[in-house]
């Protein structure tokens, strides 16, 4: 009995230690998406210059699986991701719509797409984070997979890579495309 009492501080230490170890191993940047399984939020964005679409709104997301990609010409990780988006477009795997987020200069987004290529079907201009906040975006790039009924199925944080495409995004898109 006496022995057990002396073990108590040690047990407490181990308990707290385990708790903190779990806490430290979690990535605070990875937030659960509240949108998964819910309809895309309402938004209606004007077009950016140099494109012939009339902007991008939540209505455009009905009728067919698509991806919504939040990018910006100021965003370094988007530049890393960009060649892969071009590859998706070239192979016609899934339509990608873009939300050009927080451009201070109205020419920056169009110039960026001219320089690196334009993988987007529709692009909306979102200088004041209207759509970005509605989507619960915390940083760029982020990509949402939307099914044919306009329901958000998946949120991908950070650049899409060949690996994340092969392992997660592609299987899900295939599955959704077969379902619709």
């Amino acid at each position: 009995m006496k022995r057990l009492i002396f073990m108590l501080p040690l047990a407490g230490f181990l308990l707290i230690g385990a708790y903190l170890a779990i806490g430290l191993s979690l990535d605070p940047q990875k937030l659960p998406s509240l949108l998964e399984g819910k309809p895309v939020p309402e938004f209606d964005l004007p077009p950016i210059a140099g494109r012939d679409d009339a902007g991008f709104s939540s209505e455009d997301l009905k009728g067919g699986v698509s991806m919504v990609n939040i990018f910006g010409s100021w965003c370094v990780a988007c530049r890393v991701e960009h060649p892969f988006l071009m590859k998706i477009k070239e192979n016609d795997w899934v339509p990608i719509h873009g939300i050009d987020w927080r451009e201070m200069d109205r020419e920056a987004g169009p110039a960026w797409l001219r320089r690196f290529g334009d993988p987007y079907t529709l692009v909306g201009d979102d200088p004041k984070s209207k759509a970005a906040i509605a989507f619960g975006v915390t940083g760029a790039p982020e990509t949402f997979i939307v099914d044919g009924a306009g329901i958000v199925r998946y949120k991908h944080v950070g650049p899409i890579t060949q690996q994340s495409w092969d392992e997660t995004l592609k299987p899900l898109i295939d599955q959704l495309q077969q379902g619709s």
Binding site: L31, L34, P41, K128, S129, A132, I133, A134, T138, G139
Partner: protein, 160 residues
Amino acid sequence: MIYRAFILALISMTMMMPAHAVDPDEILKDPALEARARVVGKELRCLVCQNQSIDDSDADLARDLRVLVRERITQGDSNEEVIDYVVSRYGDFVLLNPPFKFKTYALWFGPWVILVFGMGVIWVFYRRRQTAGNDSEMPVNVLSEREEARIKKLMDEDKS
């Protein structure tokens, strides 16, 4: 004199206020609405620098959230409605004050449980020490007959 200056400096340090990131062009004309926006802004976490409120953060996203809070307040939303909207987008995580619900019971009750437990341990500890003192009455050494005789002898010698 120098002490007085030192104490004054210490006192003034306690009165320091954190600098706000709210830009002059964001501030609403109506001071009452602006005051409400400040209250809401202090409740909401900046998603970029996660330990700051959107009022304290210089991040672009925090600025846009402040503007959004002000727009909604101007449109007639209550403070709760504004906060609920942001929570519906980003989850409970944006609240700097965690909500009181089943998932957070451990957070709210944990410290009190530990406090009560600790007080219990201290109480038991002292109780035991006290009762230990009372129960174990030291056996009083009784003098042997020889010793008694010797004392008697010594005292008698003294008298004479």
